[in-house]
Every structure is written in C-alpha cells, then in structure tokens.
Symmetry: C2
Subunit: 224 residues, 2 copies
C-alpha cells in the first residue's frame, strides 16, 4: 500500500490505530532494538486488545518498518526540496552548498521532532539489519530531491574515480545516520542537555558539514 492509497481508502479510526502502532513500534525499537521487541508487544503497548493488530494493519514487521521510514523520508524530503530549489545554477554550486543540501534536511527534521525522539536510533538499525538495509538505502536515493542533486552534478565534475565517489557517498551516509543516532541517544539518556537540544542538533549539523567537507576534499582532491 502506498501512502496515498492509505489515505484514500482507510477510515479515520483505522488511520489513528495505524499511527499509534507506528509511534509505539518506533519508540520500542529505538529503546530496545529490533531483536528485543515482538510484534505482539507493540500491539499491547499501543493499547490494542487484538493480538494480531499489527498483522492486520501492516501484514509483516518489515511492512510496518517501511511505513515508519516512508513517513520520515517524506518529511525530510520537504526540507530538501526547498533547499535544492534555492540553489543556484549547476556551474555555481559550491562543494559546501552540495554538502549542506545532503546533511541539513535531516538535521531540520530532528529539530522538528523535538526531544525525546526515536527516529535516529530506529534508522540506524534499519541501515544495519541485512533484511532492511537495501530498502532503506534505495528509498533514500530515489527521492526526487536526491535525483535533482544528481542532475546538478557533483561539484568536482565528472572525471573522478567512480569507486572513490561511491565510497565517499557511503561515508557521508554512515556519518549522518550514525552520528544522529548517537546524539539522539545522548539526549534521551540525559547525557546531552535536553533544554539545549536544538543547539546540539545545529552544532552536529555544522560539524558534519565541516567534517564531510574535509573528508571529501581529502579523498577526491581539491576543487579544480
């Protein structure tokens, strides 16, 4: 079921139950890990009496996880679309602008979510679990804003070692996903100051942009 089909065909009460299940699943998975949370417990903690409620709304655990992912990606996509639209012409794109368009939308999304949030730790698990990894990566890469960034072209130009570019892309992805999960965990545990959460997210965003700028320049050479 796609998001639009869902909205068109299910009742408000059913939509509410789905929503509650998704939030509960995300929280439990983030706090305890995929391996330590059963489908049945998700239904129970979402206050549903029917023991097959998750199967009824989502068929399988993976469908439930995909639905949670899709919703966050749609929210991040909105941020990225507006950032990409504000970019100049391809030739004028700086490396720092390019990196900012990759990093900042998910930082803004984390700020929108408030504290505590669970998405960061949830996402880190989906990119690591073998059965979910490919779906997660492909779902991100097929977003229109990412395709637009591709059309604009990587600011270093086309004459680069393809394998090195792929590895650089993977490094950027690992840093964004796993550093966000780590800050989220620190905020949730009180190790990072709850009241200064937005400032912590912005600082992480700035540090990621600076780090990825250095990493990219070092790996692919300075801009020609």
């Amino acid at each position: 079921m796609t998001l639009s089909e869902t909205a068109a065909t299910i009742s408000p009460r059913s939509a509410l139950a789905r929503d509650k299940l998704m939030h509960t699943a995300e929280r439990l998975y983030a706090e305890h890990g995929f391996a330590n949370v059963s489908i049945r417990r998700i239904g129970e903690e979402a206050g549903q009496r029917n023991k097959s409620v998750v199967q009824y709304h989502f068929s399988t655990r993976d469908d439930l996880i995909h639905a949670i992912l899709d919703r966050h990606m749609a929210a991040i996509e909105k941020h990225r679309i507006s950032m990409v639209a504000a970019l100049g012409e391809p030739g004028a794109l700086s490396l720092r602008d390019w990196i900012t368009c990759v990093v900042q939308p998910s930082i803004e999304h984390h700020i929108d979510l408030g504290t505590p949030s669970w998405y960061g730790r949830f996402l880190a698990q989906t990119v690591v679990e073998p059965t979910l990894r490919e779906y997660t990566i492909q779902a991100h890469l097929k977003m229109p804003s990412f395709r637009r960034i591709e059309e604009l072209g990587y600011p270093y130009g086309p004459d680069l070692d393809r394998e090195l570019v792929v590895q650089q892309g993977a490094m950027i992805r690992q840093l964004i996903v796993h550093m966000s999960a780590e800050l989220e965990a620190d905020l949730a545990s009180g190790r990072a100051d709850h009241a200064a959460a937005e400032r912590s997210w912005r600082r992480l965003g700035d540090n990621l942009i600076t780090a990825i700028y250095g990493l990219s320049s070092s790996l692919l050479g300075e801009r020609r």
Copy 2:
C-alpha cells in the same frame, strides 16, 4: 567468564562446541540480523541436539555476543600493539601515524579472516543495538593499545574543544565499523570481486586514512 578462565577450566570437547556455536552465531547474525535469528536455531545449525546448548555454554544471548566480540578484539589488539610499539616518541607522532594506528589493525584483521567473513556485519549490529552498544564501545576503548595511544597524546595537542574531540572520535569509529561492514557485505554477495578481497581491504584502509585525515584537519584545524 574471562577468556583465560575459559581456556583453563573447560574440556577440549566443550571448547570445540563453544567455538562451533560462536562461529555459527556470528554467521547467522551477519546474514540475517539479530532480530531474525533465535538462540535455538544457532544450536541447531551448529549441529547440537540439546535445545539449551547455547544457554549451557553462554547463559544468555548477550554473553554469547560478548564472547564473539572479545575474541575478535584480542586478535585486533595483537596487530595494534605491534604497530603502537613501532611508533616514535610522543612529540614525533604525526597525525597520519596516529590515524593509521587507529584504522589499520582492524583492516589487517579482516584480511586475516579471509572471505567470506562475518565479523564486520556482526560488529555493525552490536554498535547499533541499544542493549549491546555500551559494552562494545567500552570493550574497545579499554584495550591496552588504545590506552597507549591516549598516553602518546593526540597529535594536535591538549588545547582543543573537548566536545569536538569526542565527536571526531565518534565519527572515526562510525566510519571504520560501518564501511568495513559494507565492504564485507559486498564481498559476500559478489558485488565486490572475491579474488581481489585483500586489495579491496587495503584500498578501504587507505581511503579511510585519507578521509579521516581530511575530516580531522577540517574539524580540529590544521596542525600547529
């Protein structure tokens, strides 16, 4: 039970069974994920008829996972100890030497393991799962070779923003762990050339060192 107690007190036959269980668990976890592999299945696929064989040898799933981790870390530690011993005096330590001592030992360990291996994907899951994350990070940081690297001092000197240094350390850890898991998965699936595995590992090591050099210089400033 520590590794040395294990060696001193259990029979050869029992040690063999433990070994088989650890290898089987690592492989199944790497290929299917923690969430999709039961303790019972590990015993079965290790060819054990007793349904409680894992509990008998390891008490809990976490103890089993810790035992697998400890064994790999001991092997990596051997590589790092000899690299650290070959370093010059603290004052002479270059940033590239420092990064090489952090990155290269786990690359050498992956080459020792051969192809296919499972440790990389296994480790990536332990640093992401909430109940295992802290153990995994602490187990690495308390290794004597890491303490020795600390004594030698970070080559940028002591007058740095502490929070930035911690974040840089976390970025380095994420890159090593998750990029290794990704290459291992590519080698296992045939997406990367099996016959050229050692070359791929060495290239990943070189790229990580180059990337981390750029990341560190960009984040903490050029060397004074």
